[in-house]
């Protein structure tokens, strides 16, 4: 019994979700960090086949909500379900087959090479049937995030934006049905911001659920199927960006006058702060 627990048996890989399946869900979730209540009665549903953007001002609780959905944080009220089961009932290896998480900043204690870092994303699958996909998954993830060119360089020698893409490649290589990305575009240039969100969209079209914390409301409007606007630990609005992003709501939430208008050529939703007053 004791020995068996030292060498944990590998959990079975989960079946592919059908489009529309609820892969993660927060119900009336309350999270307290220290004495501060960071999330207060938050409810949100994450479905397979859709990109959900979490937006809101600094300190609104976006990363905390992502952490709660990732089963990182204990909730002091309400319930978080991942793949239909309360988050705390999953073991770490089981969760690793079901959700991948991109942290806000990527660090590494030792100078592993880029390819080795991306390959770490395959660790949860060691010993399962899908282990055979390792090489293909790593190669694909590196190609998609355009890091193949520096695969042999040590991670520590990369620039901030390159590191961010390598971290994303690691998450993509994990090939889970639920992706939780905390500000994947923060360190990236214009072109790579677009690339990353296109990737999110492709994963959603392929049947995965992608939750992404974004600061750029234009990006959220362009790529997300749904956006949840967080404000002071609550969900102020939740729905398709075109409906949710209104000048009034955003101005109020961000405490800064904001204009929302259609792109003159494409009609896409554009969001800019008002600077003429």
């Amino acid at each position: 019994m004791r020995l068996a627990r030292l060498v944990p048996s590998r959990p079975a890989p989960p079946p592919r979700p059908a489009p529309g399946d609820v892969l993660a869900e927060a119900e009336d979730v309350r999270v307290r960090l220290g004495t501060r209540t960071v999330l207060d009665g938050v409810g949100i549903t994450v479905r397979a086949g859709e990109v959900l953007a979490l937006v809101g001002p600094n300190g609104a609780g976006k990363s905390t909500l992502l952490g709660a959905l990732a089963a990182d944080l204990p909730v002091s009220g309400g319930v978080v379900r991942v793949h239909g089961r309360p988050a705390e009932q999953w073991s770490a290896p089981e969760l690793a087959l079901r959700r991948s998480v991109l942290p806000q900043s990527a660090s590494l204690s030792f100078p592993f090479r880029v390819e080795e870092v991306v390959r770490m994303g395959r660790a949860p699958w060691a010993g399962t049937d899908l282990e055979d996909e390792d090489d293909a998954a790593v190669a694909e993830a590196m190609a998609r995030t355009e890091v193949t060119a520096f695969a042999a360089r040590p991670f520590s020698a990369l620039s901030g934006g390159e590191r961010a893409r390598v971290a994303l490649a690691r998450v993509l290589a994990q090939r889970t049905a639920l992706l939780l990305l905390d500000e994947p575009t923060a360190a990236l240039d214009l072109r790579h911001q677009e690339l990353v969100l296109r990737l999110c969209r492709e994963r959603a079209r392929a049947g995965d659920a992608v939750v992404v914390v974004l600061h750029d409301l234009g990006l959220a409007a362009a790529y997300a199927d749904r956006a949840a606007v967080l404000c002071a630990g609550r969900v102020a609005a939740d729905g398709p960006p075109a409906e949710v992003f209104s000048g009034r709501l955003l101005s109020e939430v961000y405490d800064q006058p904001v204009e929302v208008f259609p792109h003159p050529r494409t009609g896409a939703v554009l969001v800019t702060p008002r600077r003429d007053m």
Binding site: L6, A96, L108, P111, M120, A123
Partner: protein, 363 residues
Amino acid sequence: MTVLDEPVRHSPAGPAAAPRGRRGTAWLLTAGLAVALLILVPVAAGTGAYPIPVGDVVGSLLHRTGLGGTELDRVAESVLWNVRLPRIVLALLVGASLGCAGALMQGVFGNPLAEPGVIGVSSGAAVGAVAAIALGLDFLGTWTVSVLAFAAGLVTVLAVYVMARSGGRTEVVTLILTGIAVNAFAGALIGLFLFFADTAAVNQITFWQLGSLAQATWPKVLAVLPCAAIGLGLAPLYARRLDLLALGERPARHLGVDVERLRIVLILVIALLTAAAVSVAGVIGFVGLVVPHLLRMAAGPGHRFLIPGSALLGALVLLAADLAARTVAEPAELPLGVLTALLGSPFFFWLLRRTRRGQGGWA
């Protein structure tokens, strides 16, 4: 526009080439270390105040294991089997334990400067050992010193871990300062025991503080063997998980590592290995620091090679150091711990400067 949309360039060697190169280096190093050990063991066994030709050493080894060879004359046989070989086996065990403990500790702390001697775990374990000697405790027979060293080492490593960590990270400065504090406290306790001990015990304790293998006997080998064997056997099982831990605690958990359990098990293993080394040889610093570093520079930071490799190189380094300690100033003998500190401290200094440059100053 077309320039921007240029397709992804693949490196000429391809993505899989890099790790394969490192794996090749790892195999070469392992083979090299094994060969070096096979050569150094009979050489060390033959060298000393009573020289024995290497051929005779090998012959006697073969004879005792029943593979042919010839027995030596009575004196040579006694020198070889009662003096030299226990000392060599002990050097191998202690070196392997220290090297492995260093690699593990750096992995658990996520900090390349962690080492049992530097952060005070060796001194902590020494307090347990010294207490056993000074108070004349022997309630567990020959294992008393080992067990007390383990208990004290475990308490120390837990204390250092709790004190040096904040927010899931171990800052270099905090770690080193914690080490200074722990070393000072352990030194004070050892001083107290010295003060109250009788002359015979004082001599024995002094030996601990300097670190030495001069009093090696087969019973001592047996006393540390279980600790060292368990530690060295368990450590490689956690290599993959230690690799993931380099990403940080949360990312490691996201990849399926039960971080809490990993930490507890590895801290126990580190305490076992350190106690094994300290209980027979006293405080021998810097082996656990230098050895994993050299290997990381040569073959990369992957723990699947680093952990067994550090055990091998640690064994080799300590055997060589002990050989030097007992032959350089013949007929006198240098204390082994003094020798390793003499060679290891400059390396530590260089490492500190390099780490500092890499971070752009201490945070």
